[in-house]
């Protein structure tokens, strides 16, 4: 295919060539920096929180992180393409409610089908708003956040949807509680989603095109990459990951209504950004996202074990975010080709 060969070359550019190749330490930091921080944190944690290494506790950390991590894969694609999806919280609430309704009506298979379908539909709605009505992604997904949550509220007017206790042994409820070889199933699903996401981003044409589009939409357009297709791909992918995440989420908490996971979108975006995916698009690192998800949850775990109240946990999370982004901002400023003097000037 001729389009493929023409698009792959420019796609190479944003991944490797955005700064001078000499600064290899910087490029290493891009992909592995957060992972290094995570390992450092993991090494220090047992010293301050002796209970951390207990198998039960580790399992619960892995299980808790799964649904954020799964959606973070989709969000990494979205941000790498230069757009946010602010509606993931609404999508998760709506999908969870619909999934529980389907389970109570038709059992496990119906629930799984409902979760995936609802997620995909939510993504399609967003893609439609953005490509057909030409609403900027930020506002389109802000609007659909209200709409999805609203629908979830409507569906649960008579009380939240719940998973009845007598179904504790159903295969559906097991998704959230089962361990395979000591590893919780939600975590295994998350790893699978990350692996699939990595292949999609690095080894397929559409993944490269997404990165190319994120780094310069107009250049990508000149290379024959279709806006509509990228937007459709990205937002439907986010919807799909929300559908999968809803399955692991709902089988853990067993109940959902319109207010489920308020502020979820910010958690996910924070993880992606912390992982090193550039907000201005064109650069996405799933390895970074993966580590960042755990960095945040391990940090939370440490704070909880130290008896730090949840109010202070927020403060720490916010500070970590600012520090990480400041380091990133300073680093790109100093690594960018150009004089040292220019680097010292405030960024535009």
């Amino acid at each position: 295919m001729s389009t493929q060969t023409t698009t792959q070359k420019p796609a190479e550019q944003p991944v490797t060539g955005s700064r001078s190749p000499k600064v290899s330490l910087g490029r290493l930091w891009d992909t592995w920096g957060v992972t290094a921080l995570l390992i450092l944190l993991l090494l220090c944690t047992p010293a301050v929180a002796p209970g951390f290494l207990e198998i039960e506790n580790l399992q619960s950390v892995l299980r808790e992180s799964a649904y954020v991590g799964i959606v973070a894969v989709g969000m990494t694609f979205a941000i790498a393409s230069g757009a946010f999806d602010l509606s993931v919280g609404g999508q998760l609430a709506l999908t969870s409610v619909v999934t529980l309704m389907a389970f109570n009506g038709g059992g496990t298979a119906a629930a799984v089908a409902a979760a995936i379908t609802t997620g995909l539909l939510c993504g399609l709605v967003n893609a439609g708003l953005i490509t057909q009505l030409k609403v900027p992604p930020f506002v389109a997904t802000l609007g659909s956040l209200f709409v999805f949550r609203g629908i979830a509220y409507l569906l649960t007017q008579d009380g939240p949807q719940t998973l009845p206790y007598e179904h504790v042994d159903s295969p559906f409820a097991k998704i959230g509680s089962l361990n395979l070889a000591g590893l919780p199933v939600p975590f295994l699903i998350m790893v699978a989603v990350f692996a699939a996401g990595w292949v999609l981003m690095r080894r397929t044409a559409i993944g490269r095109r997404t990165l190319a589009y994120g780094s310069s939409p107009s250049a990508a357009r000149f290379c024959g990459i279709s806006d509509t297709r990228i937007r459709l791909f990205v937002f439907v992918l986010v919807g799909l990951t929300v559908g999968i995440a809803a399955l692991t989420y709902i089988t853990r908490v067993w109940t959902a209504d319109g207010s489920a996971q308020d502020g979820f979108e910010l958690k996910v975006i924070a993880a992606v950004v912390l992982g090193g995916t550039a907000l201005k698009g064109g650069k996405g690192t799933l390895i970074g996202t993966f580590s960042a998800v755990f960095l945040v949850s391990v940090l939370n775990e440490v704070l909880v074990s130290q008896g730090v109240e949840s109010a202070y946990q927020r403060i720490v999370l916010g500070l970590v975010l600012i520090v990480a982004l400041t380091i990133d901002g300073l680093r790109t400023r100093f690594a960018a080709p150009g004089s040292f003097r220019r680097a010292l000037r405030p960024t535009s």
């Binding site: 609007g143 509220y153 927020r314």
Partner: protein, 325 residues
């Protein structure tokens, strides 16, 4: 007349909605109800006007909802500690301004993207407010504080007086002062603004301080309404403030600002909320309608832009539009 409608596209749907409500309910047009709508709209318009500056510059401030909480808490706890009313009001506004200053400094001096910087301060400030109050309500009964919402100088409710003053100042600043032109210049092309020698960083900081101040005032009004402050106040308010501005027609990508549009946007949202209440619809519909309204407004704007493209050359290069979105 036609010109006015073209400049303020929200006018027609607003009149339509009001007409529908006037016909379908008996209470909408009663003086008491109209006053309720206008007071609510006034309270929402005040931060909206400050946010108009921020969006005109092509940036967001997501931390304003948390500012509402911390400012309310600051005022109430100062009153509880026996400080004077003036001190408490200034404390609240000062907290707001400081949060704005912190936002501005992190964004300009540390080079963190506004979206993430204000996202982080939103989390931090909310945490500070929750930590300080320890999850408890700080209940006050201060007639002086109550006056901010319930007072009626010359028979006009106080929030409306405040909103009119803020709107007049905002309109004048955007349309008649150098500062306003600078803000729009930064919004339409920041690099060009910097190269023409504008003190871009200082202007950006000033705008964030302005938004912080308005958040402080918003917090005072909310605390005055509820006669309390706590860590939960203002959850999700940032979206309200941004929605109002976007509805009012201020370009999301900066460069253009409409203070009158913002005020009408606030009236529109509160009219719809009020109408849905009067029609006894469940609160869920309110969320859905606000979301749909936001999408509809932006879809219409995009449609008009496409129509215009046929007659006039598109001034903003496609790349700038896309990357900023």
């Amino acid at each position: 007349m036609i010109n006015t409608i073209k400049k303020v596209p929200l006018l027609v749907p607003l009149v339509l909605v009001a007409a529908i409500l006037a016909i379908t309910t008996d209470t909408f047009l009663s003086a008491g109800n109209l006053e309720n709508v206008l007071v609510a709209a006034a309270i929402l318009a005040i931060p909206g006007i400050a946010m108009t500056f921020c969006l005109a510059m092509g940036e967001f401030d997501l931390s304003i909802g948390s500012t509402v909480s911390l400012a309310g808490v600051a005022c109430c706890s100062a009153l509880i500690a026996g400080q004077s009313l003036a001190f408490s009001l200034i404390a609240a506004l000062g907290v707001g301004a400081l949060i704005g200053l912190a936002n501005g400094l992190v964004i300009t001096k540390l080079g963190v993207t506004p979206f993430i910087a204000t996202l982080a301060t939103m989390v931090i400030v909310r945490g500070a407010s929750l930590a300080y109050t320890d999850g408890h309500d700080q209940i006050v009964s201060s007639p002086g504080l109550k006056y901010l919402v319930a007072g009626r100088p010359l028979g006009i409710p106080m929030p409306i007086v405040l909103a009119v003053v803020v709107a007049a100042l905002g309109w004048w600043t955007i349309n008649r002062t150098r500062f306003g032109r600078w803000v729009c210049a930064i919004g339409s092309n920041r690099d060009a603004a910097r190269m023409s020698g504008l003190p871009v960083d200082r202007i950006r900081i000033a705008v964030y301080v302005l938004v912080g101040l308005s958040g402080g005032l918003w917090g005072l009004l909310i605390s005055s309404q509820l006669q309390k402050g706590n860590g939960q106040l203002g959850l999700g308010f940032e979206l309200d403030a941004i929605t109002v501005v976007v509805l009012g027609g201020t370009a999301l990508l900066g460069g253009r600002a409409s203070v009158i549009g913002t005020v009408l946007g606030a009236v529109m949202i509160e009219t719809i909320r009020n109408g849905l209440n009067l029609l006894n619809t469940p609160p869920a519909y309110q969320r859905i309608s606000v979301g749909l309204l936001l999408i509809a407004a932006l879809a219409l704007l995009a449609l008009r832009r496409r129509e215009k493209r046929g007659t006039k050359p598109n001034r903003v290069p496609a790349r700038v539009q896309e990357s900023a979105a």
